[in-house]
Amino acid sequence: MTYTAPIPSDPRSWDLATSAKLAKSLVAGQVLADLAEEDERIVVLTADLMYSNRTSDFAERHPDRFINVGIAEQNMVTMAAGMATFGYVPYVSTFASFIGLLCAEQIRTDLAYPGLPVRVLAHHAGISLGYYGTSHHATEDISIMRSIAGLKAIGPCDAASAAKALRATVDEPGPIYFRLGRGRDPDVYEPDDPRFEVGRVARLREGDDLTIVANGITVHAALQAAEALAADGIEAAVLDAHTFRPFDGETVVEYVGRSKRLLVAEEHNVQGGIASLCVEAIGEAGLGPVQIERIGMPPDEYALIGPPYNLYQHYGMDGAGIERRARRMLEVAA
């Protein structure tokens, strides 16, 4: 007997196309399609994920400069390197786990070592793929990318900053790793926001009691936490450490020098990521005693199964979690 599934009619039902539309901050396809109108060097490659990462927006407008390589990520990265030697500026895109981790050697050896202008769009970074599980998570990629000589690495937290970062770096002569979210990230910046400048830590909120350094999904959460703390008279500075290579340690040192308290929140293993970068900068500056706390994936854990936002709650990466940790640091009850 053949089972025939009923035709879905519940309005909450959605398909792949609807899902892709929800990913409003996956703007790379659109932004690159606009840039490509004027710039013939831009080509976009993906690995059988054009609808998930919305590079389909580019494919529709520039089919001749769009290449789907199938599920062959290493070939995609290395192919892009070959194309770059002919004057193209290729953007290669797939899940962060399948490029930042799987293709780490290709990024190092074929892009960074020869210094070629290939851009890696590593989307759905961190644990943002939730219950898809650890195979689809990337909580080690900041650590890997930050040690690759000649590479720039930027993790914009929303659509406006992603668009600005993409536009600002088209003419960069070397490779760039863009660490992007799931596409449903809340807005932090205005379009073309002057606070966001590639290479500089963004100062989003002032405060001398505590310095919160965030990256990606935790930036919005840190701002929420800072608002809640302000209600109790606690003034927390919020810094968006989007560019992690090169890292603007100077700005972090400037703030931590005043607050003497640093709380870092990142969607990454707490070892080797943004927290490590901050601690190195503070240590090198000889700041003296600083109270430091780290929020992120615990050093020896892979994430639980669950929807992304539940996981953020569980690991304290949401607004409430950051607020809770801040209160503990300052010994102020909620």
């Binding site: 290493q74 192919m79 892009a80 030697t85 074929d110």
Partner: protein, 295 residues
Amino acid sequence: MSSTERRAEGAAREAYPQVTVPEEKVREVVERARLIRKETVRLIGIAKSGHYSSVYSCAEILAALYSGVMRLSDDPEWPQRDRLVLSKGHVAVGVYPLLAERGYLDREVLDGYTRVGNPLGDHPDMRRVPGIDFSSGSLGHGLSITVGMAKAARMRGYDEVRIWALLGDQELNEGQIWEAAQAAGHFGLGNLIAIVDRNTMGLDGDTEEVMAVEPIGEKFRACGWRVSEIDGHDPRAVIETLTAVGQAGGDRPHCVVARTVKGKGVAYMERARTWHLGYLAPPDAEATLKEIEAR
């Protein structure tokens, strides 16, 4: 159509038009291959370790490529030049002398091979060495590089430009090779030619014992490539086949399986696993040079 007819048609599609080169061209390949073998002895003598036998199996191939098969000019950066990617990057020591011969490299640079600060290392660096089209060394990457180059050349409308890849045979174990092979077939890159130096040996011994690579031709055919086979040490066969394949173009990438002998040209190195990496002390180097000269 019967299966016999289909096979006959398949064979006809595989066959390349016959190209005949003059005798002096064949002699040029022989002499250039001799230069490669001799300079390899001299340069590895400076480094005090290197890949003699891997160079020797592809000496005639490299010699032919640089004897008019590849479209080159006095300017190593000429955009319309053919590209060569040494996927088996450890044969760079056999290519550097040819780059010096072409005037891309100064003699003093060649003579400082592998010494501190010199641009010439065991594996080639495109940013340091004029005439090297891509940095290589990590096996398995080279074919993907050339797929990107061939695709880009097509997109740019550089119809005269051919992209050449020199692959090792044990290297065909790498998964990325087959990602690239299927992509080249899928994109119909008739401007791409991959030469497999089928010297039958990896570092640890016979390829078919270490990790089998055969049937090489059938694997490439299955990915949509045209495949031909040659004796990789017959200078006439090498230059005529590479010339014919290079002129073929079309909508299928080309694979030339060159049957070769690892260490070819120096009797005690031939098929000797221990000579994948080695060093010849001055008296041995002298005797070896004499043997190369006499052949």
